[in-house]
Symmetry: C3
Subunit: 158 residues, 3 copies
């Protein structure tokens, strides 16, 4: 199979992060990483995990920098893309990303949640082009699973 | 009418919690507990209320235990299922739960939001079987309406 | 073109707030304020900005009052309606608002997130009538982009 441009771009970004995009993404409960229904695919909330390790933890503006939080957002969206590719065979089947919600574990006075989310939005655009443009909500939360700095979920149309 | 397996399982779980699943679910503003549009049903954010009482309040990891928060998540999802059954007549009409988002009122250092959310995911699987598998996002928030420990919303396909 | 009742009501509410509903809504990253897909329109998270200014900032229950937070929610939803009107030509094309999520930047002990969200729900009902009834989730978060008091996103069916 010839990889699409989107799949190639995804693989090179994922490999640069040390991400094994063929690994099974582990699920700890009675839920699913991906649910496809008609023309839409829902992706469960992703944290910045590479292999078994959550690689960016703590509150941005306190424990981690903006740049580290942007990297966390990037890893989250790479994981979401990995799940989409597993589900769809190729990322080129994505017609449009409809929504991402970016939850940012934030220090009390940190207000650059949008800038953190750009770390994910930029990857979607680089990998998917116009199909990667999306609506977005970014908010600052008190805490996240396993102390992660960012959690991101996504809905895409195919 | 013969109750489906899903409806029976739902009723026994709801009754065990002391939940009157036939009660009118109260709404305090210009919004709706349920909106159905074509093949999808949206459920408003549910807190762990039984009758007039929010039965689990406070921050998990500080005011309440993990087990109490899991119970809160279970009550929230039972309420969501009650709304779905009122809307659809029978839970057997649910084709797939697409998404739940679980907001967990968390102490500063509490990072087991996923474990709290399992309290809801397990019920969906017990009541609906494969149709109850869903994507999930669980996050830790600073506070919730009426001091509730958990709030949960849901989208289902019919 | 004759304005629909919905468009007229929207314009008078927006003008009363000093909102220039014809302005370009600025986007700072690789994402979109609005994405339409088949019968659904997604709106990105809106903060209470009028022109270049975020007009309500800080935590409700600490820096701002409930009334100010309700005004913030109202401005957010007016912005969402402005985006819908730009996208659709007229608000009368909205068949149903499916979901709003209202993130409220809350002091530790503030639990009236639902009352804050009423500031948005009331506008939807006043402008759109029955089509403005919606499901809703309102939660208390630690912080929001640019220190905003409220952020609101929306999904509508057309």
């Amino acid at each position: 199979m010839t990889l699409s441009t989107a799949d190639n771009e995804f693989e090179s970004q994922a490999q640069a992060l040390g991400f094994d995009f063929n690994e099974e993404i582990k699920i700890g409960g009675n839920y699913a990483p991906v649910i496809q229904h008609r023309h839409e695919v829902y992706i469960s909330g992703q944290i910045p995990r590479i292999g078994d390790q959550v690689v960016v933890t703590g509150a941005v503006g306190q424990d981690v920098t903006l740049q580290q939080a942007q990297l966390a957002a990037k890893i989250c969206v790479i994981r979401a893309l990995a799940l989409l590719r597993n589900q769809l065979g190729s990322l080129s089947r994505i017609k449009q990303v409809l929504r991402i919600t970016v939850y940012v574990h934030s220090a009390h006075d940190f207000t650059q949640q949008s800038e953190v989310a750009n770390g994910a939005s930029d990857v979607l655009y680089q990998v998917l082009g116009e199909a990667g443009r999306h609506t977005r909500t970014s908010v600052g939360v008190a805490q996240l699973p396993k102390g992660a700095t960012v959690e991101l979920d996504l809905i895409a149309a195919i």
